[in-house]
Subunit: 338 residues, 2 copies
């Protein structure tokens, strides 16, 4: 088996370099024969971190990058002003074919911008897309796009549906993924100009298009893939994350009302976590793919744990071994000919 | 005090005419001197329903309408094909100045379409808007628009902000409501073309504009009013309603796993309802206003209880007594002159 070379942004996320390095070490240890891990970032800091683990791994190397893009840096500006950042250096390795994939728990916008500008788009792709998994009663639904592309045209939504279908089929083993178009009503005449046009394109496609779905269907499991403009998807993604915070806050305030209430909340909190919160814990999924760029890029949550980082590395490996990008290119160029 | 005449759609909602008539009777009984209630719908059915209550109310009358717009009827088609519906007849009364307001728990799209087409818009309003209240840690946030207008231009979002501010100030007693523009990032350069343009207009306005807010801020209480295109607002509104269903389902499935779990869920469900579910119960708010049309129209949830219907009637009265529409007209025409 040919080794896959994956760059891990060692300076990305709220717990850098700790969690990034730990995750990379776990992956390098677990898969010595199939993975080459390259940590990008401040060599000195990374070495110190590795030393704590007391391991010697041949398939774990470092490429130095002196600058760090913070969560507050502007994506486009950081690309220019911080050319020697762990993100830029890491993505350059992919661009120069010295690595196969880049994963980061850092500034999402910065990773996305660097990836799109440096790697370029796959032939046939007008706009790249980021998908995010939402838990449903029956399993999972993936929403495309959640923030890579706004001001989309109908054809871009069609592209998201094509890329999303390929991803769900190959990575999530759903053979004929049901594609729903997010709108304000089920009838195909309901929606804004964008969705009414996209509905027509999707109906003509060879995808398993089930028609329009509504906001309530995202979590119902009615569709395996929900397609929308990145503006809408991003708003929903951030909204659902906040719902959990609201629930937690409500229980916390209730507990603060007195000793008995505190005791009671303590007693039931295990059940709450088990029943409600677990599925909505985005950590578990370990990163989302940026599809449509010439290269494999996985973006993780800023609070990614070492296990989440490891999962991102494995996801990148899977996407590469399954030739997802070649499949996207093939499918979209056949689309163009129609 | 001059009497306010309010038409209640007796055939609207899932529990028509039962809940509509009951709600109307409560309002008519509670405010004999300030309200005239007119029930629109099938006279025979309404009379039967009133008889059950064994009341005789001078301020409660019926106007007959033979047709019923169902939840599945197309808004535009029903307007033509069911000219004698409780919705059309009721809104015509407002148009002909025989009534001051119309309230309905029926087909939202049909009520909205009939209202906009029959009553027309207030001078200075390009697009009408429906606002919906979301619970927050600190109180309530109202989102405009949640489905009245899609494909908005930036100036329409500004109008929503003006109408929303007037509404929140007068009906919810928030003197200087903070207006947030829903986008995908806090910086004013973040967003799609629509929001970037709207941000500029809002900054120049005399509103208490706090800048862009994100999906996570809808429930955080950061803004009193959150402004967005009706497509986005509608998706969020339906999404949040479904989150509750998902939570309820999860507890139900957990309870179904065995007797002890069932007992446990039974024990904690009171706390869950009290702590979490109550605030998200849209019933309690009793209807949302359609702002920007020449007349007062309140739209309620299909599952509205008699109390929710009563609350809708009182809300309509309040909007009329506080001259909200005159204030909107005044404010927006002064805007146009700038």
């Amino acid at each position: 088996m040919e080794k896959i070379r994956i760059v891990v942004d060692a300076m990305g996320g709220d717990f850098a370099p700790l969690n990034d390095v730990s995750g990379a070490i776990i992956a390098a240890e677990e898969k010595p024969d199939s993975l080459e891990i390259i940590l990008s970032g401040k060599e000195k800091l990374i070495k110190e971190e590795i030393l704590k683990h007391k391991v010697s791994l041949k398939n774990l190397t470092i490429v130095n990058a002196e600058e760090i893009v913070t969560m507050h840096d502007s994506p486009t500006e950081s690309l220019k002003s911080k050319a020697d950042s762990s993100i830029s250096v890491g993505i350059n390795l992919v661009k120069e074919k010295k690595a196969d994939a880049f994963i980061s728990a850092g500034n999402t916008g910065a990773v996305m911008t660097a990836a799109v500008l440096k790697l370029g788009r796959i032939a046939g792709v007008g706009r790249p897309t980021i998908g995010s998994l939402f838990p449903t009663d029956k399993g999972k639904t993936m929403v495309f796009d959640v923030g890579a592309s706004v001001d989309c045209k109908a054809v871009h939504l069609l592209e998201f549906a094509v890329m999303g279908s390929i991803y769900m089929r190959n990575v999530h083993d759903i053979q004929n993924p049901r594609v729903g178009l997010l709108s304000v009503g089920e009838e195909k005449t309901k929606g804004d100009t964008l969705t009414i046009e996209a509905n027509e394109l999707l109906e003509k496609s060879n995808l398993n298009f089930i028609g329009n779905v509504e906001g309530r269907d995202v979590l119902s499991g009615k569709a395996d893939i929900v397609i929308c403009d990145g503006f809408v998807g991003n708003v929903i993604l951030k909204f659902v994350e906040s719902v959990l915070d609201v629930l937690k806050n409500k229980f916390r305030s209730y507990a603060a009302e007195g000793f008995l209430k505190k005791l009671w909340v303590g007693l039931i909190s295990g059940t709450l976590k088990k029943v409600v919160l677990k599925d909505f814990d985005y950590q578990e999924y370990g990163g989302v793919p940026l599809l449509g760029v010439n290269g494999v890029v996985i973006i993780g949550h800023g609070k990614s744990s070492p296990i989440a980082i490891k999962n991102m590395i494995y996801k990148a490996e899977e996407i590469i071994r399954k030739n997802i990008n070649a499949k996207i290119s093939e499918e979209l160029s056949s689309f163009e000919k129609k």
